[in-house]
C-alpha cells in the first residue's frame, strides 16, 4: 500500500444469511483512501452501501455467511484478520469511527448525551469521568453545541442537534478515518448545509480522512475528492471527483448524473428504468445489464473487468474493453 493511503480496501466481501438465501451485500469492493481526502461511495438504496460501513469495521451480524477480503491500514495491519478484542480496543473509534444517521435511534435513549460523547474516553483512554466530561464539552463546542447540552437526553434534541452530537462523539478520540453513513439524509436542507460545512471545517482542522456514504450525488460533490459508484454490492466506477463530475464513463454513473438537476444549464431530467437488483439472486454477468441502455451480449454473461482509463479513473464496463 502506498505511503499516502490511510486505508486500502481490497476485494471486501460480506454476505448475510436470510430465510430466502444469502444476501450478497458487499461483493468484492476495492478502493484506496489517501490521507486527508474524502472518498464518496454513491449508490441507490439497497445497493449495499451501509453494509460496507459494517464490513470495514468488521462489525458482523449474527447471520453473517461470508466475510472475506482485506482492509489495510497505514501500518499494514489488516482489520479483517485481527482478533475481535484487538479490533475493539485498538481500531474501533480509535482509528476508524463512524457517524451514523443521528435521526435514527443512534443515541442511547436512557443516557445523557454528554455521557455518551465522553464514553469512548472513559472506556478507551481510561479517563476519569470528570476529565472525560470536560473533553466532551470541548467536543460539543467543536460542533457548535453549548455546554448545557451535556446534560440533555436524546429525545430532547432536534435532528440536526443529534447529528452534531454524533459528529462530536465520533471525533472525541481524534481518529484518523471517519466513516459518514448518510449523515444528513433525514435532515432538512438548511440543517444539511450547516452539517456539510461543519464536516468540511473539521476535516480541514483535524486532518481527517472521510469515507462518505450517500445516495445523494449533489451532496457528494461538495465533499468528495474521489467518487466510487456502487451498484449491487460492487464498485462500477471510481474516479477523482474532477474526472467524475465532468465525464462519468459508466452508463449507471451517467444515468445518475442525468437525474440530478443542475443550477446553471438546461437539462432534460431522466430517470433510470427498472428496479434495484435483488442482492440474493443478482443478475449474471454485469449486474447493471437489465437496466443498461447499452447492454451487449457479453454483458449478460461475463463480469466486467477493471479498466483503467486514467491513473485516477477506473471503470468496470464492457464498453471500455
Amino acid at each position: 500500500m502506498s505511503d499516502k493511503n490511510v486505508m486500502s480496501v481490497e476485494s471486501l466481501i460480506l454476505h448475510y444469511r436470510t430465510v430466502r438465501g444469502a444476501v450478497r451485500a458487499v461483493d468484492g469492493v476495492s478502493f484506496a483512501l489517501p490521507k486527508g481526502k474524502t472518498i464518496a461511495v454513491v449508490g441507490e438504496s439497497g445497493c449495499g452501501k451501509t453494509s460496507l460501513a459494517s464490513a470495514i469495521t468488521a462489525i458482523l451480524p449474527v447471520n453473517v455467511e461470508r466475510y472475506e477480503g482485506s482492509v489495510f491500514l497505514e501500518d499494514g495491519v489488516d482489520v479483517t484478520k485481527m482478533s475481535e478484542d484487538e479490533r475493539r480496543q485498538k481500531i474501533r473509534w480509535n482509528v476508524i469511527s463512524t457517524v451514523f444517521q443521528g435521526a435514527m435511534n443512534a443515541l442511547n435513549p436512557v443516557y445523557e448525551v454528554g455521557y455518551q460523547v465522553a464514553e469512548p474516553l472513559i472506556v478507551h483512554k481510561k479517563m476519569k469521568k470528570e476529565d472525560a466530561m470536560d473533553e466532551a464539552k470541548n467536543a460539543l463546542s467543536l460542533v457548535g453545541l453549548p455546554s448545557d447540552f451535556l446534560k440533555r437526553y436524546p429525545h430532547q434534541l432536534s435532528g440536526g442537534m443529534k447529528q452534531r452530537v454524533m459528529i462530536a462523539m465520533a471525533l472525541v478520540l481524534r481518529p484518523k478515518i471517519v466513516i459518514l453513513d448518510e449523515p444528513t439524509s433525514a435532515l432538512d436542507v438548511i440543517t444539511q448545509a450547516n452539517i456539510m460545512n461543519l464536516l468540511k471545517k473539521l476535516k480541514w482542522d483535524l486532518n481527517l480522512s472521510y469515507i462518505f456514504i450517500t445516495h445523494d450525488l449533489a451532496l457528494a460533490s461538495e465533499l468528495a475528492d474521489i467518487v466510487a459508484v456502487m451498484y449491487a454490492g460492487r464498485i462500477v466506477e471510481r474516479a477523482s471527483s474532477e474526472k467524475f463530475f465532468t465525464r462519468p464513463e459508466h452508463p449507471y454513473s451517467q444515468k445518475l448524473m442525468q437525474s440530478v438537476p443542475t443550477l446553471r444549464s438546461k437539462k432534460e431530467l431522466e430517470y433510470i428504468p427498472g428496479a434495484p437488483p435483488d442482492l440474493i439472486y443478482p443478475p449474471p454477468g454485469c449486474r447493471f445489464h437489465p437496466r443498461c441502455p447499452y447492454a451487449m451480449d457479453v454483458c449478460k454473461e461475463k463480469v466486467p473487468e477493471l479498466r483503467e482509463l486514467n491513473p485516477d479513473h477506473v471503470v468496470y464496463c464492457w464498453l471500455h474493453q
Binding site: S54, T57, I59, V62, R87, R88, Q89, I91, R92, W93, N94, S97, T98, F100, M104, N105, A106, L107, N108, P109, V110, Y111, E119, P120, V123, H124, Y153, H155, Q156, M169
Partner: protein
C-alpha cells in the same frame, strides 16, 4: 389517585363480602334464635311467664344488637367498615384466633404475613432474576442447544405452582421421600435456632422449586425475545462501533433501555404472587396469609376476609407505587412525561 383506587376497591370488597347486608340479616336471625333457645332452655328462667320470657328475649336481643353495632342499617355500617379498613383498624375475627390466642384481625394477619413474604417474595424475586439472566444468555446464544430446550419446555410454564405442587408432592414426598409434605417446620420443631432455620429452609425448598418452575421457561423465552428485539436497536450497533466491551453494551445499551417493561413484569409478578399464593399455600400447608384466606373463606369469618382484602389492596397499591418510582428513574423518557 392511587389511594382513591384502593378505597373504591376495598369498598367493593366489603359490599360483596357482606352480600350487601344479607349477611347481617343472617347473623341477626341466628342471634335471635340463639338467645331464644338460651332463655327457653335455661332453668333459671322457667319461673317466668311466656310473656315475661319474650320481653327478656327482646331486651337481650336489642342489647346484643347494639353491642355488635348491628342495629344500624347496613349502608351506614358498610361505611364504618370502610373507615376502619382504611385506617387499618380491622376489628376482631369471628372464629379464627392467632397463635397467641388473640382475636384481633390485625394480629392474626401480621403474624402470618412474614411467612408468606419469606416464601413468595423470595420466590418471585429469584424467579425474576433467573428468567432475566436466562433470557439474556439465550438472546446472545440464539439457536443453540439451550435455546431449543427452553422453547420445547415452554408449554410447561402455563402450569400454576400449586399444580406442580400436587404432582411434586406425590413424586418427591410420597414416593421418593426427599422433601417433606408441607408446613413450615417438622413436627415437633427442632429447638436449636440454627436447626430450626435449616428445617424451615428444607420445607421451603419444594414450594420454591414449584414457584420458580412455573413460569420459568416461558418467562425466559419471553425475555430472550425481548432482549433480541432490543439488541437490534440502532444505538446498540453504535455501541459496538464505539468499541465498547460486550459487558458494557449489555448493561448500558440493552438492559437499561429495556428495563422499564421488565420492571413492570416484576411488579406484576409480585402482585400476582400475593394472590396466586392462596392455592399454593393451601397445597403445601404453608402457614401464611394465603392459607389464612382459605381458612377464613371456609369458615366464613367475615372480618378476616375483609381484613385480608384490605391487606392485599394495600400490598398491591404499595407495589404499584414503588413500581412507578422505579419506572421513572430508569427511563428518562417517562420521567419527562411525568414532569
Amino acid at each position: 389517585m392511587l389511594f382513591v383506587t384502593v378505597v373504591v376497591a376495598i369498598y367493593a370488597t366489603i359490599l360483596i363480602v357482606n352480600m350487601g347486608g344479607y349477611i347481617d340479616e343472617i347473623i341477626k336471625s341466628q342471634l335471635l334464635e340463639d338467645i331464644t333457645n338460651l332463655i327457653k332452655r335455661d332453668p333459671i328462667y322457667r319461673t317466668l311467664t311466656p310473656a315475661e320470657q319474650d320481653k327478656l328475649i327482646k331486651a337481650r336481643y336489642e342489647s346484643e344488637l347494639e353491642r355488635r353495632g348491628l342495629n344500624q342499617p347496613f349502608i351506614i355500617r358498610s361505611l364504618i367498615y370502610l373507615k376502619d379498613a382504611i385506617t387499618l383498624d380491622l376489628g376482631r375475627s369471628l372464629y379464627i384466633t392467632s397463635n397467641t390466642g388473640s382475636r384481633r384481625v390485625q394480629t392474626i394477619i401480621l403474624e402470618l404475613l412474614p411467612t408468606s413474604v419469606m416464601l413468595f417474595t423470595t420466590g418471585t424475586v429469584l424467579s425474576f432474576i433467573i428468567t432475566l439472566y436466562l433470557g439474556l444468555y439465550l438472546s446472545r446464544h440464539r439457536g443453540g442447544l439451550l435455546d431449543k430446550i427452553v422453547v420445547a419446555l415452554s408449554p410447561s410454564s402455563g402450569i400454576p405452582p400449586w399444580l406442580y405442587g400436587i404432582v411434586f408432592i406425590i413424586i418427591f414426598s410420597s414416593y421418593l421421600h426427599i422433601f417433606p409434605y408441607g408446613g413450615l417446620v417438622s413436627v415437633p420443631p427442632p429447638n436449636d435456632p440454627v436447626l430450626y432455620f435449616l428445617d424451615a429452609l428444607w420445607h421451603m425448598t419444594l414450594p420454591l422449586i414449584c414457584w420458580i418452575l412455573s413460569g420459568l421457561f416461558l418467562g425466559a423465552y419471553g425475555n430472550r425475545n425481548y432482549f433480541l428485539l432490543f439488541s437490534s436497536e440502532d444505538y446498540v450497533t453504535v455501541g459496538k462501533a464505539k468499541g465498547l466491551p460486550e459487558s458494557a453494551i449489555l448493561r448500558r445499551y440493552v438492559l437499561r433501555p429495556s428495563s422499564s417493561p421488565i420492571i413492570l413484569g416484576l411488579a406484576l409478578g409480585l402482585i400476582g404472587s400475593w394472590q396466586g399464593a392462596i392455592i399454593t399455600e393451601t397445597v403445601f400447608n404453608w402457614p401464611g396469609i394465603g392459607l389464612l384466606t382459605n381458612k377464613a373463606l371456609t369458615a366464613v369469618d367475615t372480618p378476616i376476609i375483609i381484613g385480608l382484602a384490605v391487606t392485599y389492596g394495600y400490598l398491591l397499591a404499595a407495589t404499584e407505587f414503588i413500581l412507578e418510582i422505579l419506572y421513572s428513574y430508569l427511563d428518562p423518557r417517562i420521567r419527562v412525561l411525568m414532569g
